[in-house]
């Protein structure tokens, strides 16, 4: 049997937690990790008579996101109630935006493996409150409800079904993640639930015009899981269709342990959410002036940074991209660049020693024990000839371990400065020439390789502190000088 080519169609809904001190409609704190229900006040609990008051911090954040994806910003934005019963939804409705999302019609570019870029359209991004958490495993035969998350501000970013592979979906999610962290509107912490993806996936045979029936896999909180979940769904749906059955439109859950998706609830029995405008909140209007102010304060975005590094710092495209991909890394680099102009050297150190140490320690550059000042001192001492690159790496290690705070102190305390005193070197070289007449003879006969052997001897004598270039020059000078 010949299997026709399949096409996969993917759209993502990403819930981004906006970083605010207090919740979207109450003054309860948003800090992660406190005991159950310790951060739920009377508004979050939905007690009778309580009313939501919108936290104005959320608007500039959502608008900054909208402007960064070239989207339309609603002139007037209002909230709606989405009605359904669930124990972790205290009011019996979620305050969200249905008819007038704050952001509409944007797009973001992703880079494909073949080097080309693809534009993914973003249908809308709207503001809403998070629900609480149901704890099904904490109590025997009972479900606990933790409302600390209830009322956490979210920006839900809804893409068009523009992605065709799990890799594209992963790249899109990473681009959104990079953007929201660059804009500092979210900490993007996936482990704490600040960035969660719902994947809408369907398959169809190539050439078919109608989209296949889609499933929605909810609450995926890592890029790897996103890719795995989509790949699983694609295979599953193809199998269903090939076996002559129909894909059911349903909500599914991804189980990362078993690497599979499972049905959560069927859309056929789904509730009618009965959206209507939230009467407890007034519509909010944004004039052009307000939007322009936000535009002015937008930070440099990843692609802009990358281009600037190439243009102004003379970095290669790949180097510039390596830096700009991660805002923290880019900021570290920029702090270094203020102190040392040699961009290449900075990049080499970041790509080399820094990256391998970070990955060994499983931390990000934000938590690096080595500061830009320390790294730059190190680079300066290498370029002014005080130490060799090899010694430099040794010092990097000592700084990383926290054995000293200053490069110069390590050099002094451990006597690591290069021997640039030619008198002392002269003596060592004379000694070496005397002890190795045979090798000198070979060199004079044209076997120049022995020079390396001689340099090695000197370096060994000086425990690596001699400047190899200087040693090289001095030996040549001695051998070639008529004596």
């Amino acid at each position: 049997m010949i299997i026709a080519n399949w096409e996969t169609v993917i759209g993502l809904e990403i819930h981004v937690q906006l970083s605010t001190k207090s919740k979207i409609f109450s003054d309860a704190s948003t800090v992660f990790g406190t005991g159950p229900n310790e951060q739920a006040n009377e508004v979050d609990l939905g007690l009778p008579g309580t009313l939501p008051v919108v936290n104005a911090e959320i608007f500039p954040k959502a608008i900054a996101f909208g402007l960064s994806i070239g989207a339309e910003i609603a002139k007037t934005s209002y909230f709606d109630r989405k009605n359904y019963f669930y124990p972790d939804l205290p009011k019996g409705y979620q305050i969200t935006q249905m008819d007038e999302p704050i952001v509409r019609n944007g797009c973001i570019n992703i880079e494909l493996n073949n080097g080309t870029t693809k534009s993914i359209r973003i249908n809308r991004a709207h503001l809403e409150e998070d629900a609480g958490k149901s704890l099904h495993d904490s109590f025997p035969n009972m479900t606990g409800v933790d409302l600390n998350r209830a009322g956490i501000p979210l920006l839900e970013i809804v893409s068009e079904p523009d992605m065709r592979t799990a890799e594209e979906a992963e790249k899109y999610a990473k681009s959104i993640h990079q953007l929201v962290t660059y804009l500092s509107i979210s900490d993007g912490n996936m482990a704490e639930g600040s960035f969660r993806c719902d994947a809408n996936v369907s398959v169809r045979r190539e050439g078919e015009k109608e989209l296949g029936t889609r499933t929605e896999t909810k609450n995926i909180n890592s890029f790897k899981f996103l890719k795995n979940a989509i790949n699983f769904e694609v295979k599953r749906q193809m199998n269903v269709i090939q076996s002559g059955q129909k894909v059911k439109q349903e909500t599914r859950l991804y189980d990362s342990v078993k690497n599979e998706t499972r049905p959560m609830r069927s859309k056929e029995t789904a509730t009618d959410y009965r959206y209507f405008p939230e009467p407890d909140l007034l519509p909010v209007s944004f004039d052009q002036n307000y939007i322009d102010q936000i535009k002015k304060t937008l930070p440099e975005l990843p692609s802009e940074k990358k281009n600037r590094y190439v243009r102004e710092h003379g970095l290669r495209e790949s180097e510039a991209k390596f830096l700009s991909n991660d805002l923290e890394l880019a900021l570290f680099y920029e702090n270094c660049h203020k102190l040392v102009k040699d961009s290449k050297q900075i990049v080499n150190w970041l790509k080399g020693e820094m990256l391998s140490r970070l990955s060994d320690a499983e931390i990000t550059i934000k938590d690096s024990p080595i500061s830009p000042i320390q790294l730059c001192d190190l680079i300066k001492r290498i370029s002014d000839g005080t130490i060799s690159v090899t010694i430099g790496k040794k010092i990097f290690g000592k700084l990383w371990e926290g054995q000293s705070i200053s490069v110069d102190n390590v050099i002094r305390d451990e006597n690591l400065a290069q021997l640039s005193d030619s008198k002392q070197l002269d003596e060592l070289i004379n000694e070496a020439i005397k002890k190795n007449p045979k090798q000198i003879e070979q060199f004079r006969n044209g076997k120049t390789k022995v020079l390396g052997y001689l340099i090695g001897l000197i370096m060994k004598e000086t425990s690596g502190k001699a400047n190899p270039k200087q040693v090289n020059d001095l030996i040549l000078e001695r051998i070639n000088s008529p004596k």
Partner: protein, 481 residues
């Protein structure tokens, strides 16, 4: 003392003719005597201590405007560490961990709360018969209803159990019981008084207001209740007038609009009351002119779509999970929801939740909810247009005097028509007052004054000057018999 108005009680206490303690004690005695009226759901156990504390403050020369005055709150206002039931089994044992802004504002002014008054369940009703705590009886005729939903507050003031009480008005719930019980009640402009801590029925229509014997007393109460509250996004950032200062000012050239079709619907005796009222108002210098409110008759259908729609969402939180009534030993989540709500909520509340759920359902939303909102805008536009030519509008408050207990209990449609003259002010968000205007067969009849946005001062001064030349508002049910 209990027969005195709020203004008189303020003077009485300030001039030390009697103490807050003495006043409170006499009211408690009276409440006991009149317990058959069922005005109160709960009486504050610490009321005597509060009165004594107020007396101490008075001795120290405190000048809080309502210091030591016992008032009552409709049991829809949350009060710190006090049971707040909204007249429902669902909240029979709910103790609020905070004060409603109305409650804290009046506390700050020095008032002390005698207790919480009876009401239709979740403010849904026009007769006080839907209360889980039993119906309230009308002090003028105990076989009749006091109106609703603020029936307990209206009956308590009318029976002189307290000189003033708070109420809420979503479709007429202050004005209709005020009319039935022969007192003065004001529904302020939407947004004038904070809704924080007031248990929601229909958020875009609910508004708290004062209920008292006189317009003067309503003015005193409103000033203390009102003001912007950052806890309620819909509360207005409009300065609060010194309503009392406006009461006796000359009205100048003041025009009141009459929408004739409303008057023509009345029976002859009520019609006569309205005619007399208009003549009396002419005596204080008001001129009358006809206006047109072409969409007035659509107010009831629009109201009975919008209010239930909002209530269907507002009452979803009563699910037995976090607070309120929870059914015994549910076997699963669905049963917990179904039985808690079935057992905890009364029939009228369920009717409205179902009607509202239906109106919001996909496929019916456009035909009902959206259409009702459009009608609401038309009604509002009619008023805006009318107020270009007139300062106030006069209308009846209710189509009849107080009806008998049980008379309309089984006929929701008949009951809903009670609100025919009142709901349009809620839909438009306008302030409106009901004042005693006469009697028909020994039962009080109210007349309604509707004002422009935030012009409560004007309404109150016209009502006050009307009350200066009439004495309907001072006739007590006791003196009648």
């Amino acid at each position: 003392m209990p027969d005195q108005t709020l203004a008189e009680q303020i003077k009485g206490i300030r001039r030390k003719k009697y103490s807050s303690f003495e006043l409170t004690q006499s009211l408690l005695d009276r409440i006991k005597d009149k317990s058959n009226l069922n005005c109160f759901i709960s009486i504050d156990e610490n009321i005597i201590e509060k009165a004594q504390a107020a007396d101490k403050e008075i001795q120290k020369g405190s000048d809080k405007p309502l210091l030591g005055i016992p008032i009552a709150h409709k049991d829809i206002f949350c009060e710190y560490e006090t049971k707040t039931t909204a007249g429902s089994r669902m909240l029979e044992n709910f103790v609020a961990p905070y004060d409603a802004t109305v409650v804290s504002n009046l506390k700050r002014a020095g008032a002390i709360s005698l207790g919480k008054t009876n009401m239709d369940e979740f403010a849904m009703g026009s007769s006080n018969e839907t209360s889980f705590f039993g119906p309230v009886r009308n002090p003028w005729d105990e076989n009749r209803v006091p109106g609703g939903s603020s029936g307990g507050s209206a009956a308590a003031v009318s029976a002189r159990l307290c000189c003033a009480a708070t109420g809420t008005d979503t479709g007429g719930s202050i004005r209709q019981p005020a009319s039935f019980c022969g007192i003065t009640g004001l529904k302020p402009t939407y947004g004038r008084v904070s809704r924080w801590g007031m248990i929601a029925y229909a958020s875009s229509l609910d508004q708290a207001g004062p209920m008292a014997l006189t317009a003067e007393d309503c003015a005193i109460m409103l000033r203390e209740m009102s003001g912007h509250d950052k806890k309620d996004s819909t509360s207005a950032q409009v300065a609060v007038d010194d309503y009392s200062a406006f009461l006796s000012r000359p009205l100048g050239k003041l025009t009141i609009g009459i929408f004739e079709p409303l008057m023509k619907e009345l029976d002859s005796s009520t019609s006569l009351v309205m005619e007399t009222t208009i003549k009396d108002l002419e005596k204080v210098g008001v001129t009358f002119t006809e206006i047109d409110l072409p969409n007035f008759s659509y107010a009831i259908p629009a109201y009975y779509v919008i209010a239930p729609a909002e209530c269907s969402a507002n009452l979803s939180r009563y699910d037995g999970v976090r607070f309120g009534y929870r059914c015994k030993e549910p076997s699963n989540l669905k049963e917990l929801y179904q039985r808690s709500r079935t057992e905890g909520l009364g029939q009228e509340v369920k009717n409205r939740i179902m009607a509202g759920t239906f109106a919001l359902t996909t496929g019916y939303y456009d035909a009902f909810y959206r259409k009702a909102q459009q009608v609401r805008r038309l009604i509002k536009n009619d008023f805006v247009k009318a107020f270009k030519n007139v300062d106030l509008i006069i209308a009846p408050t209710t189509p009849s005097t107080a009806f008998r207990l049980g008379e309309k209990a089984d006929d929701p449609q008949e009951m809903y028509l009670q609100d025919v003259y009142t709901t349009s002010a809620n839909l438009a968000g306008l302030p409106a007052l009901s004042m005693p205007a006469g009697f028909v067969n020994g039962l009080p009849v109210g007349a309604q004054l509707i004002g422009n946005y935030f012009e409560e001062a004007r309404i109150l001064s016209v009502a006050h000057q009307f009350q200066a030349i009439t004495d309907w508002h001072l006739t007590s049910p006791d003196s009648q018999t």
